[in-house]
């Protein structure tokens, strides 16, 4: 047996945990941010685009039509709280903390502990970028099935979650 470096199927990304999607349909750790989309509690046509920057912990929240969220008054709004909560379910607290560069000593800490350790303030982050990534994400569900073999997927074995 040789090192992990010499494995073709070396696992880089741990599988994500399933979670309820109704409140927060989209969460990702990308572009140096925790970002995602939170459904409005009152209007099914409206969603909020929320993000937290890795490192600086600056955050932002606005509707998909770029109207700033009314809940942002110097502290993260309930949408950002929901985003963080669901990110922890999906990726695990350790991966979220590492990505955002939040120092946590306790591996069993919660999304609320992460929330309290955000050091940044409101920051202007373009909602359009995140929203277009969400739309691209949804568009995957419209790609037709294929019956041609994809041998390249042998590099991506399915695995169980939460091992």
């Amino acid at each position: 047996m040789v090192g992990w470096e010499r494995h073709s199927t070396a696992r880089v990304l741990p599988p994500v945990q399933p979670r309820k999607l109704a409140k927060v349909p989209f969460v990702e750790l990308a572009d140096g941010r925790l970002q995602g989309v939170v459904s409005s509690g009152s209007d099914v046509e409206r969603v909020y685009v929320s993000s937290v920057v890795a490192g600086s912990h600056g955050y932002s929240c606005s509707t998909n039509n770029n109207r700033p969220c009314g809940g942002l008054r110097g502290t993260p709004c309930k949408h950002i709280q929901a985003l963080l909560e669901e990110a922890v379910v999906q990726y695990g607290v350790a991966r979220v903390a590492r990505y955002l560069r939040i120092d946590v000593d306790d591996p069993d800490c919660t999304d609320l502990d992460l929330l309290h350790r955000l050091r940044g303030g409101p920051e202007s982050i373009p909602a359009a970028v995140v929203f277009s990534r969400f739309l691209r994400h949804l568009a995957y569900l419209e790609v037709p099935e294929s019956t041609e073999p994809v041998p390249e997927l042998h590099w991506f074995p399915a695995t169980r979650v939460g091992r």
Partner: protein, 467 residues
């Protein structure tokens, strides 16, 4: 598969395999700082790659490519040659390993004889876009990959995904980009998956060459299809269900075949929910869930042993237990040839049946099946979340249908189904038991609590897309 088969599989090392893999690793290490910054060490590693193909037709052009990289003035064609030389070496390793496995199993294999059909015509601009991104990656090196470089792939990858003939390339690019995105900035990573990323980069570069996607001529086949087991592949935005089966046709000996269904998905659709995404093969799924044979009529068979599934050309047949199929046919069925561009150790996945073993769990937590004093390691990480197979079931099993694989320098067993003896008799678990939905009440309840991820996202897509 008995102890004697395993003894033959493990006996001695193939001359050349380890050396070839060392040369591959040398190239893989050159991709860390990037090909624009090769030092003396990387230059000698690249020279070793050229040396390893010196007795092949790749000789002159690989040597030229290595010189161009050393001089810092390389183009697309030189990168393609390097990827080609690396691929040729791994192809030779694949051949040596598969021949060893076939010999140990006494498995006959068809020889590759097909003249390839014309490649599907695709937009050269699109392919050039893919090559250009892969070149930027090679220049930057893994250590130089940052958010901007990963984001630069997004538009091209989206365009590639929209072309059905480029599905293989699209799925590969998505998988690689997602790993790089999650690893950014790569410069801060402690360890890098060198072999894996170089594998993905090389294959993508070859598929993105003009004419790089081989077309192949299919032959219509009819007969009785007896499923053996289902291998599941998955990354954030794709899932593939690959059925291994035996095909009984008139006038020819039984053959080992596969048939595959692939669809796009999103990261949050995991576990048993992935079956609901695949809606085009209800007849096949019923046969898998109920352990039935299928009667197929004029279904295209590709020269590599892949049936291009047509659900309308299949009828469910009588109940046939996969373990019975394995006992009857695995000793003699004819295995298909491997298409030239698919020859890579990661593609080795030979169905086998193991019985009469003891399960031992090592101190590191590794399960091994011990047959007549020979131990085969179980790759429990390859048990898919969409089915009922668990490490505990494997540990309690008395018979296992699986795929023999090879990675990280050793042979592994990927279970597809197990038989477990208990007080009430024998129970079975197969990876595709939940193809029509979970049958375990606990899993059904958990699914109900979590809600239907597919339905929620389709509702969101319906409201927010196309505006």
């Amino acid at each position: 598969m008995r102890g004697t088969h395993l003894a033959e599989l493990f006996d001695g090392a193939d001359p050349g395999v380890a050396d070839a893999l060392d040369v591959v690793s040398g190239f893989d290490e050159a991709l860390v700082p990037g090909l624009a910054r090769v030092g003396a060490e990387q230059q000698s590693q690249l020279a070793a790659l050229a040396g390893a193909v010196a007795v092949t037709p790749l000789r002159e052009r690989t040597r030229e490519a290595v010189e161009k990289v050393a001089a810092g003035s390389f183009g697309d064609e030189h990168l393609a040659m390097l990827a080609g030389a690396r691929t040729a070496l791994l192809g030779a390793v694949h051949d040596a390993l598969l021949e060893r496995l076939d010999t140990a199993l006494g498995r006959p294999r068809a020889t590759w004889a097909t003249a390839e059909a014309p490649a599907p015509s695709v937009s050269e601009n699109l392919m050039a876009g893919v090559r250009s991104w892969l070149r930027e990656v090679a220049i930057a090196g893994w250590r130089g990959v940052d958010h901007d470089l990963v984001s630069a792939s997004a538009q091209t990858a989206e365009a590639v995904l929209a072309v059905p003939a480029l599905r293989r390339l699209a799925v590969l690019l998505d998988g690689l980009a997602a790993e790089l995105r999650a690893s950014c900035p790569v410069a801060t990573m402690e360890r890098l998956p060198l072999r894996r990323w170089a594998d993905l980069w090389s294959r993508a570069l070859l598929l993105a060459q003009p004419g790089g996607l081989p077309g192949s001529a299919a032959t219509p086949v009819s007969g009785r299809l007896l499923p053996l087991g289902v291998d599941v592949h998955e990354h954030g935005t794709a899932v593939q269900v690959q059925v291994h089966a035996v095909l009984e046709s008139a006038d020819v000996p039984p053959r080992l075949v596969r048939t595959s269904l692939t669809t796009a998905k999103v990261e949050t659709i995991v576990g048993p929910a992935v079956w609901r995404l695949l809606r085009g093969a209800p007849v096949l799924f019923k046969a898998l869930a109920e352990h039935r044979a299928l009667e197929i009529t004029d279904v295209p068979l590709l020269p590599g042993g892949d049936l291009v599934w047509q659900d309308g050309s299949a009828r469910p047949g009588e109940t046939v237990e996969p373990f019975a199929t394995a006992r009857l046919h695995l000793g003699t069925a004819l295995a298909p040839a491997v298409p030239p561009l698919e020859r890579h150790p990661v593609r080795i996945a030979e169905p086998v049946l193991l019985e009469g073993y003891a399960v031992a769990v090592s101190e590191e937590g590794e399960s091994r099946l011990d047959v007549d004093g020979q131990a085969l390691t179980v790759d429990v990480a390859r048990l898919p979340g969409c089915g009922p197979l668990t490490p505990d079931l494997v540990a309690a099993s008395s018979a296992c249908l699986g795929l023999v694989r090879w990675d990280g320098g050793r042979w592994l067993l990927q279970p597809l189904a197990v038989q477990v003896r208990n007080r009430r008799g024998t129970t079975e678990a197969h990876t595709a038991d939940w193809a029509l939905g979970p049958t375990d009440p606990k899993v059904v309840r958990a699914e109900a609590r979590a809600g239907d991820a597919v339905a929620v996202l389709r509702e969101r897509a319906g409201r927010l897309l196309r505006r």
